[in-house]
């Protein structure tokens, strides 16, 4: 059975790539601190690749480490864990970004009149429709007025919900 991927892991994959996402996921599922060599062994990755990606994750504030000098070898050992606060702030930053995009889209929907091709469903703004003499540029069919009230209402509802969720987090 396929397990559902945590969205934060998906975001890390998009930001930093597959290896970093796998390492992040491994740390995310474990509550204790983990050494880099333990991660390499558990995921069957090369140690230098694990270290490189851990530093990459660390640069983005997603993970932190504790350094301890080994009494036997004199070398430093690094214990890694997820930086919980940072993960939350990255998600919040993404939510703010989505809110901005939805608002831009709402402004576009509210400030334009739309026409649609009844055959292939292509949408045109009034200016585009006028330029094409109210004919579909793909199939030549006559365009008809398209009422986007449902789109406007839907976007307003999603924006309101997202704003509420962000307000709750910041209070």
């Amino acid at each position: 059975m396929e397990t559902k991927e945590d969205p934060i892991v998906r975001i890390v994959r998009l930001m930093l790539g597959e290896v970093a996402a796998k390492i992040f996921e491994h740390l995310y599922k474990n509550t204790s601190e983990i050494r880099d060599d333990e991660i390499a062994e558990a995921l069957d990755f090369k140690l230098n690749s694990v270290r490189r990606n851990l530093y990459l994750l660390s640069e983005h504030g997603l993970v932190t480490y504790r350094r301890v000098r080994s009494k036997e070898t004199g070398w430093y050992m690094y214990y890694w864990k997820i930086n919980r606060e940072s993960v939350q702030s990255i998600i919040n930053a993404r939510k703010h970004m989505v809110l901005k995009k939805l608002k831009e889209r709402l402004a576009y929907e509210e400030n334009n009149a739309f026409y649609i091709c009844p055959l292939d469903g292509s949408r045109y703004t009034f200016d585009e429709a006028l330029e094409n003499e109210f004919k579909c540029s793909r199939c030549g069919a006559g365009l008809v007025y398209y009422d986007n009230a449902d789109i406007v209402n839907y976007l307003k509802e999603r924006i309101r919900k997202l704003e509420k969720s962000l307000k709750q987090k910041s209070s």
């Binding site: 998906r10 509550t31 976007l155």
Partner: protein, 127 residues
């Protein structure tokens, strides 16, 4: 950040058991059995882990006897809540940095965003 000394292998094993137990914790009276040491050694390990700042010891009564519930100070991160935004394609879009009003990629004409909005509006109508 917790101030910590180095852990002995047995302390590390005990700590891992306590961390894995999560919010339920582990009773000190059970820890020694899980570690395979005697009860005195088990208690000493728990006390040392608490002194080093790795765990809390909460006094509890079990079967009429006083013991301690051992809880790790590092806890699993709370689940990140994204239910209100995860379905919006912009949330996981790789081009989100290039997408702005007036740019070639923009939220007004984005195909992925348009498809999602139209699907959602249709889905709402069917409800």
């Amino acid at each position: 950040m917790l101030s910590r000394g180095k852990m002995t292998p047995l302390e590390k094993k005990a700590y891992e058991i306590i961390v894995k137990a999560g919010d339920k914790g582990v009773l000190q009276s059970d820890l020694w059995k899980l570690l395979g040491v005697d009860s005195r050694e088990g208690s000493r390990i728990a006390i040392r882990l608490a002194k080093k700042g790795f765990i809390h010891r909460e006094p509890v009564i079990k079967d009429g006897r006083k013991t301690f519930r051992l809880l790790a100070k590092i806890k699993a991160p709370p689940p990140v809540k994204v239910d209100d935004v995860i379905d919006v394609p912009c949330f996981t879009c790789m081009d989100y940095n290039k997408c702005n009003a007036g740019s070639f990629l923009n939220p007004a004409t984005c195909r992925k965003l348009t498809e999602w909005i139209l699907e959602e509006v249709e889905r709402k109508k069917r409800l």
